[in-house]
Symmetry: C2
Subunit: 257 residues, 2 copies
DNA sequence: CACTACGTTTTCACTATCTGAAAAACAAGT
DNA sequence: ACTTGTTTTTCAGATAGTGAAAACGTAGTG
C-alpha cells in the first residue's frame, strides 16, 4: 500500500502518480519545505511525508549537494536553497511573457504612479514574476510574494479562467467565506475585463488586475497595479483602462503558441 | 568518511559525487536545461548528459509531472518550468537578507535616481534577487538576469571574497582577457569597499556595487546601482557612499548566523 | 556531571526500482 | 511511399534505493 509500481497497470492508490519514485519523493520534500517555516526538522518532514526517516535524510542530503536545499549548521534543520533562484531566473529570463510586458511596465508605473506587477498561477498559488515599484506609501515591499489564488484580484482572474483542476485546488485552499463568494462569482470573474480587491490583511495594498491573453485566447498572466481605495470607481476604471491597453498590446506580440 | 561509496566502489570513473543517483541525475538535467536555449531536445540532452535516451526521457517526464520542467506540445522539446519560480519565491520571501535590505531600497532609488539591485552568487553565477527600478534611460529592463560572476562589479566583489572553489569556478567561466584582469586584481577587489564596472556589452548599464557583510564577517550579497558613466568618479563615490551606508545598516540587522 | 530525551546520521540485508538495449510509434522532409 | 530524425514504450536483469534498528550527537535537567 505504498508506491503503486510501474509495469502493468497503475493500481489507483492514494497519492501514486506516475514518474520515477525517487524524483517524486524529492519533489514532495521540496513542496513540504515550501509550506511551513523557513527551516524544518528531519523528523517533522518524515512524519508529514510519510517516508521513513532514513529516506528523508538521504533525499535531503542529495538535494543539499545540489544547493536546492540548505542545512542550517547550527540547528541542522533544512530549508529551501539558492539554486532554486538561479534556475528560476534562467526560466524567467527566457519567458516570452516577460519580454512582451517589460516595455510597458515602467511606462505604466509613471502614468499611474503606482507599483505594477505581473502574476502567474502555479499549482494553485499566485506567483509574482515581475514588478516595478512606484512611490506607493510605506516601505511595505513584500516582494516575491506567494499566496493563495483566491486572495488577490489577479489570482481570481487567473483561476476563474483556468481549467477545472486549478479551480478546485484554489477552492480547497481558500477560507470558507472566500469559497462562498468564489462559487457565486466565478462566471462574473471569468468574463470580467478587470477586477479590484482589497486583501483581508489591511497591511497589504489593494490591487486592480487585468488578464493577459495570448494569441490562442488562453489567459497566461495577470497584470496588476496597487490602488489606494477600491471604492474609488473612477480611479479603478482609469487604472484598469491603462493596464488593459498594455495587456492587450503585450498579448498581441505573444502570438500563437 | 562518508561519500566514497561504502557498497563497493570499483569504478571510480568521472563524476561520481555522493547522494542518490536519481536525484543527482535529475538535477543535472535541470542544469543542462538552464544552459542552452529555452527549449532543448531529448537527444541533445541525452548526449550532453551521457545518460541513455530512455533514462533522460523518464527523468524529464518525472520533472514535467512536478512542473519543474515543461514540454512544448508542438516541438515536444523540453524547457525549465514555472514551479521553479514558485519555489524560488518561497525561498526569497523568507530570506533574512531581503527583509534587511528592503527598507532601504526604494529610499536609495529616490536618492540616487537610479535602478538598485541586490545580487547573490550561486554556483559561479550572479543572480539578481531583488530590484527597484529607477527612471534610467531606455526600456532595457533585463530583469531576472543571470550572468557569469566576473562580468559585473557585484560579481567581482562576491567572488573575490568567497572561497577558493567559487573563485576557480568563476575564472574558468570567464573570457580570457577578463581572467587576466581578475588574477591581477583579486586582492584589490577583496578589500575594496566599492567597485564600478561597465559591462563589455554596451547595451547593458554600468553599475557601482558594494558588499553586504553579515555579523560573522561573511559577504552574503552585493548591493548595486546603475550609473551613466564609470569615469565620473565624483558620481561613483557619491553612489558608493549611499549604497555603503545602506549595506552596513542592513548587515547589522543580519546578526550572527 | 551523569542521566534522560530527542534528533540526526550510519549500517546492513532485502527486494523494489531504476537502468540500458532494442524495438515500436510518431513526425517531417525528399 | 521511403527515408531520416525524433520521442516513446517494452522487458528482463542488476543496480540502486528502501526501512528497521542501532549508533552518534547535542541539548536540557536534576
Amino acid at each position: 500500500m505504498k508506491q503503486a509500481d510501474a509495469a502493468g497497470d497503475p493500481v489507483e492508490g492514494a497519492a501514486a502518480r506516475g514518474g520515477l519514485g525517487t524524483v517524486r519523493n524529492a519533489v514532495q520534500l521540496l513542496e513540504l519545505l515550501s509550506e511551513g517555516p523557513a527551516y524544518q526538522q528531519l523528523t517533522d518532514l518524515a512524519e508529514r511525508s510519510s517516508f521513513s526517516i532514513p529516506t528523508v535524510h538521504r533525499l535531503l542530503r542529495s538535494l543539499v549537494l545540489a544547493d536546492l536545499v540548505v542545512q542550517d549548521p547550527r540547528s541542522s534543520r533544512y530549508g529551501l536553497g539558492p539554486e532554486l533562484t538561479r534556475l528560476s531566473n534562467h526560466y524567467l529570463a527566457r519567458l516570452p511573457l516577460l519580454g512582451a510586458l517589460a516595455p510597458y511596465l515602467s511606462q505604466l508605473r509613471d502614468q499611474l504612479g503606482a507599483t505594477i506587477h505581473v502574476q502567474t498561477l502555479v499549482r494553485g498559488e499566485v506567483v509574482y514574476v515581475d514588478r516595478v515599484d512606484g512611490q506607493d506609501r510605506g516601505p511595505y515591499r513584500d516582494t516575491h510574494r506567494v499566496h493563495r489564488a483566491l486572495d488577490s484580484a489577479g489570482g481570481r482572474l487567473l483561476v476563474s479562467r483556468g481549467d477545472e483542476e486549478e479551480w478546485q485546488r484554489a477552492l480547497e485552499a481558500a477560507d470558507a467565506d472566500v469559497t462562498a463568494v468564489a462559487e457565486r462569482e466565478r462566471a462574473a470573474w471569468a468574463t470580467a475585463d478587470h477586477l479590484a480587491l482589497a486583501p483581508a490583511d489591511p497591511m497589504l495594498p489593494a490591487e486592480v488586475a487585468v488578464p493577459v491573453v495570448d494569441g490562442d485566447g488562453a489567459t497566461v498572466a495577470a497584470l496588476a497595479a496597487n490602488v489606494e481605495d477600491v471604492e474609488d470607481t473612477k480611479r479603478v476604471e482609469l487604472v484598469a483602462a491603462h493596464l488593459g491597453r498594455a495587456a492587450r498590446a503585450a498579448g498581441r506580440t505573444l502570438g500563437h503558441a
